[in-house]
Symmetry: C2
Subunit: 494 residues, 2 copies
């Protein structure tokens, strides 16, 4: 799967300039179309020796608008508090934009392996995380071009020697580079293994010999231009199939199967006492979670008027105001549509000790986007495993992921809709769309059942809340948060 | 200036409910119009005793869309690295949105003074920072409503006692609250002083007696509704005066006065040597700046084709790729237009040891926005001091603010425009707008002269770069960066 490139015949300076001039014009034109179409993001990953120089040269040929270069070193304070791949999600290019990644997410496994700093389980898990990221991005339409530049031991020695000889250029040789050069063979072996293991059909590595600069630049430019060209060709053939799902009555459905007792209820006094009791407990837990560096993500889903907002308002009293944040998820903005749909949720991943509460969430992908046909069948079918993977990354970062589906009966919804219409200050809660969604009750139910079945994992189970009685629902929610948060705190390694 | 409110006659439960019901409907309607108009942001600051309860009640009456509540405690990792007021800028509501601030920026001076933790110079400087923030926001159209709730010593004691008596509510009494209660008199004195000193004509404090909850809620709701109503009334009368500035020939202009020698130039070999020398020096300095926690902000301004991008590209080679970021500033997006114009630049304030390079900047306000009439005369006239204040905050956070105006002659610009048109891969650099801007050469020159005169401060001087010879310009830029960064590093307290 790994593509290697034969050495080009040696070129005179004039011939080189001529060839490069042709290539850069082609590349520039491709980029112009790519920017205009705005159909997909482009990630150019450059690894190996001379990646800065290659990136600088390629960038100087192009329109710098919508083009950014990234290199990742030790994690900064904000990054240390989030899942390891959070920082990569923060830098992803939007559709029509280009991100150039020097070393990208490959720096860590490359040097860990060369210096034998990690065991094989950690190494393989890291590679599988990379695979998932590149798969998710390319499935969503991204083009990932990966260039690896390898140079010979003697060439590397020669270059370092020359730079160090000259007092003016000595500073260019960093300690890291020198150390790497001293471990040339280990890095070579580590790189070979890495390239083989991470060259995927959808994101192949292209290995370029880098001893000769002319050869390196022409080959790099050629590959870049070819891949961008064929990607755009392919893209212009494909049109998104947006097919709303046909209504289907499924009698074996999950929620129906549960035979929920929606009539469960709670008396006013018992409610007041229990609510206050669990708030107190949750308050204690939130203080413990700060000590243990545990974060919390709460997800609220359910049909319109299920009581999500009310449950959230009763819950947050237990937290100090600066320790939680409620995020209401509505239709993605035009800006947000230019990224992978999970991108906007990555922005809200809480830091240690913090709680983010999602009033609707990434599950919109397999609920409203599925039912209304805003996502293609491929897209929403893919989403279940993308979501499980996302939540797993949160969990691995000591985050409790606690998810609620609040279920009410169709009659109860009608009652609440009417009450909203008749209360002036609640009127904003009800609109035409709510009535339209109600007509698709069965389709939403089917989508919810499938969602709960496919995304109720060991590490992030769904809790179904019987919601006809608001008091019962609110207490069940806060009690569940206490229980699951306590589990995560006990599990957390400090 | 401080508004106090007389106690209302005591109310029965039914009367209270009736009054509140009327008020919340009014408030709800005001908010609806406010959301729809999107002409200004609203900041509701609530301080004193029972602020959480007041905020929760008011929020429960309103449409939660576009409404967020903030409380600030100790600085988190990301905040510690930025100027103290950075975190407030991050939370500002957009036009049509509401931010509820519990304690807001008043928590620190309130308790510093009560516990006698800061000297009077620090205290006064902090208050003047608050004044500037509120002034800038209200001048830009924001409505700031400040409510202070004061309760008597006996009432406070009674409340704490009741909460602590009940095992279910004991958790609600935090250590901070208990400590504050023990220092009731000191906090009372500190609050009185604070309210007097920070009640401005454009952002008055409204002091509400909080012993009686009914009185507190009715008064708070009444003030909120009144002020929002009169703000909207006033706003609908005002229309922005957008008058492009008339061209004016000013023979005493600053740049003209400088009698710049635009013919200064540098031979190729000298250029290569000097460039490499200063790059090496800059590289060393960038490493020192990391150690000293010094950040760098570089600003590049100049007419089209002045050579800003080229100078930046020659400079960044000295930095490690993950330590700097180039931000290209173009027209504000629709999203950005919903905030104070400085808001988008606050987003890019670098963390310690990092460098942010602005290819065009906040100076657009007094250049293109002035000349093209995108900002009103009041707006761009106000901007000079707003900018000086912004840069001072950067400096106080150990940030070197280094600003370049690259000047070329009108003939040189024409030559470069033509070259761009004749080079296919440079074509993106030139468009109709550039030619139109060229016709306004004198107006831009006048604007630049005024800008340089009014924003060349001790702490952030402008450097004017003779730009006809690109080599000369690039070396002058990098040399200046070295000199000014070195000064900041030497001045920095570690």
């Amino acid at each position: 799967m790994l593509e290697k490139y034969p050495m080009l015949p040696s070129l005179s300076r004039t011939e080189y300039k001529k060839q490069i001039s042709l290539l850069r014009d082609k590349l520039y034109n491709e980029q112009r179309q790519f920017r205009k179409k705005k159909t997909s993001p482009l990630l150019l990953v450059i690894g190996g020796a001379g990646k800065h120089d290659t990136a600088n040269t390629i960038t100087s040929w192009m329109d710098p608008r919508g083009l950014s270069t990234y290199e990742f070193a030790e994690n900064n304070a904000a990054e240390l508090e989030r899942p390891e791949f959070w920082r990569y999600w923060q830098t992803l290019p939007a559709k029509g934009e280009i991100g150039i990644y020097l070393g990208a997410w490959y720096n860590r496994p490359l040097s860990d392996q060369a210096y034998q700093r990690s065991d094989s389980v950690t190494y393989e898990r890291y590679l599988s995380r990379i695979k998932t990221l590149e798969k998710q991005l390319t499935e969503d339409g991204a083009l990932i071009i990966k260039l690896w530049i390898s140079i010979s031991k003697s060439e590397q020695e020669k270059r370092l020697h020359m730079l160090k000889e000259n007092p003016l250029t000595r500073w260019r040789v960093t300690q890291t580079e020198e150390k790497q050069a001293q471990h040339y063979d280990q890095f070579k072996t580590s790189a070979n293994q890495l390239l083989k293991k991470t060259s995927y059909p959808y994101a192949k590595w292209h290995e370029i010999k880098g001893d000769n600069t002319k050869h390196r630049m022409i080959t790099a430019a050629q590959i870049f231009q070819d891949l961008l060209h064929s990607h755009q060709d392919k893209n212009s053939l494909l049109t998104k199939k947006l097919i709303p799902v046909a209504p289907k009555k499924n009698n074996n459905a999950y929620i129906t199967n549960m035979k929920l007792d929606l009539e469960k209820h709670l008396e006013k006094n018992a409610y007041k006492n229990k609510l206050e009791k669990y708030r107190g407990r949750l308050h204690e837990l939130s203080i413990e979670s700060i000590k243990k560096g545990v974060s919390t993500v709460l997800v609220f889903e359910g049909v319109d008027a299920a009581g999500k907002g009310g449950a959230i308002r009763r819950l947050i009293v237990a937290f100090e105001a600066h320790r939680y944040r409620v995020v209401q998820i509505a239709k993605p903005t035009e800006e947000e549509k230019r990224y992978h749909y999970l991108w906007r949720f990555w922005q809200h991943v809480p830091t240690k000790g913090m709680t983010t509460i999602f009033d609707r969430s990434w599950y919109g992908r397999v609920l409203v986007e599925r039912v209304e046909g805003f996502a293609t069948t491929e897209e929403w079918n893919r989403a279940y495993s993308e979501i499980n993977d996302f939540e797993k990354q949160l969990l691995e970062n000591n985050t409790a992921v606690i998810k609620f589906w609040i279920q009410i009966s169709k009659d109860e919804q009608l009652k609440r809709f009417r009450a909203r219409q008749n209360t002036p200050h609640k009127e904003w809660k009800i609109n035409e769309e709510d009535w339209r969604n109600r007509e698709k009750w069965e389709q939403y139910e089917e989508a919810a059942e499938k969602m709960i079945g496919l995304t109720s994992t060991d590490f992030a189970p769904w809790t179904i809340v019987e919601g006809n009685d608001k008091r019962f629902a609110r207490v069940k929610v806060i009690k569940t948060v206490c229980e699951q948060l306590e589990q995560t705190i006990n599990r957390a390694v400090n």
